[in-house]
Amino acid sequence: MSEVIDILDRKTTLQYISHLFDLPDDIALAPYVHQHSPIAKGAHLYYQGDKAGDVFILLDGTMKAYQVTHDGEESIVRFIFPGEVLWTSGFHLHARSTSVVALDRSHVVSMPDGFLQKLMSDNDGVQQRCFRMLSKIIKDEQAFIHLLATGNADRRVAYMLMHIWKHQAPSTHSPFRINIPMTRSDIGRYLGLSEETVSRVFSRFQASGMIKIAHPQVELLDPHRMETLSQGELPSLATG
């Protein structure tokens, strides 16, 4: 799916991790960072309830974190993009709160949670970087909660498209083409919309010249307008 995969040798990976966590140069990462073999589309990284001792970092691909509710329904917690970290829940909660599955071929590395905690204690820079990443998740979730509580279908889908775009844009050659690895039904479940509504909004965006649909990709023809819509600053496109 991406060109990044082939150049991700061991050395590059360790440099990447070092950069991500703002590690000092003299830290010997190699013994602690485990590079997993590629995870095939549809395969699980871990399941809800599994013991949580490792922090995972997604290098390439897309993953989906979900929970299974009491009535056996799958509810999607978030999508994970390259460079994002799957944190543990701290030491006193030893089980994973979500299941994580690959939506396309994904590369991950992991390191023991205890090792990361140690790095944080020993280096102020690492500690600040980690807490900043955690705070960012909280802030993003709050924005998403606000979206779900107040946003109409158009705005929700616009938000989702811009969210994927912001994650993919830096690493792609065609900046306005978004690759959408999740199904319409996944998107619907994540946004609290029915699958049909999601499809209808996509068609409406296409009809109004904002996007061009070419499965599984979408081309952003008017990113500025899409961004404004995702922020809730434009009236809905819906006319009936």
């Binding site: 929970q67 509710t69 009491h70 009535d71 329904e73 509810s75 999607i76 917690v77 978030r78 944190w87 543990t88 829940s89 701290g90 030491f91 006193h92 909660l93 709160s97 979500t98 905690q117 140690k118 944080m120 204690s121 102020d124 500690q127 600040q128 980690c130 807490f131 955690l134 705070s135 998740i137 909280i138 979730e141 709050q142 998403f144 909660i145 779900l148 509580a149 107040t150 479940r189 994540y190 946004l191 609290g192």
Partner: protein, 152 residues
């Protein structure tokens, strides 16, 4: 974001620098902060699930349980407390209309799960409320409601 008190509050504060200092000097403090942030993330995720999928009654039950859990160390059936936020605030938070919030309160009251008097709420049937909040509605309660309707 902006913060406003909705009832009388007591606040303590410390500078971010001091907290960072404390965390660096004491790994246990760092671990505790990490754990608190992780818990906040997990709670937000449950709330996201709730907003993406749940009906009005479940949203309200979730909020009542959350209020109870945060404000009081222990709680049991028959426990009463005052809901500090207005109906409009509740509606805004839960992504519902004000009328829907009021209707949901009434429905929970009709099922004998809560008693409502203005802002005061008595949790008459805590186990059922907990089940509804968790998305696992009690079939028994549903049956009772149906029976009551049929009997009228």
């Amino acid at each position: 974001m902006s913060l406003v008190a909705i009832d009388q509050c007591r606040i303590a504060s410390m500078s971010v620098k001091s907290l960072q200092r404390l965390m660096s000097d004491h790994p246990s403090v760092q671990l505790r902060c990490y754990e608190l942030l992780s818990r906040l993330i997990a709670e937000e995720q449950s709330f996201i699930n709730l907003l993406a999928s749940a009906n009005a009654e479940r949203r309200l039950a979730f909020l009542l349980m959350q209020l109870c859990r945060h404000r009081y160390a222990t709680y049991l059936s028959g426990f009463g407390f005052s809901v500090p936020m207005s109906r409009a605030d509740i509606a805004n938070y839960l992504g519902l209309r004000v009328e829907t919030v009021s209707r949901s309160f009434t429905r929970l009251e009709n099922r004998g799960i809560v008693q409502v008097c203005g802002r005061k709420v008595v949790l008459a049937d805590l186990p059922s409320l907990e089940l509804i909040a968790a998305g696992h509605d009690s079939p028994m309660a549903m049956t009772l409601v149906k029976d009551t309707c049929a009997g009228r």
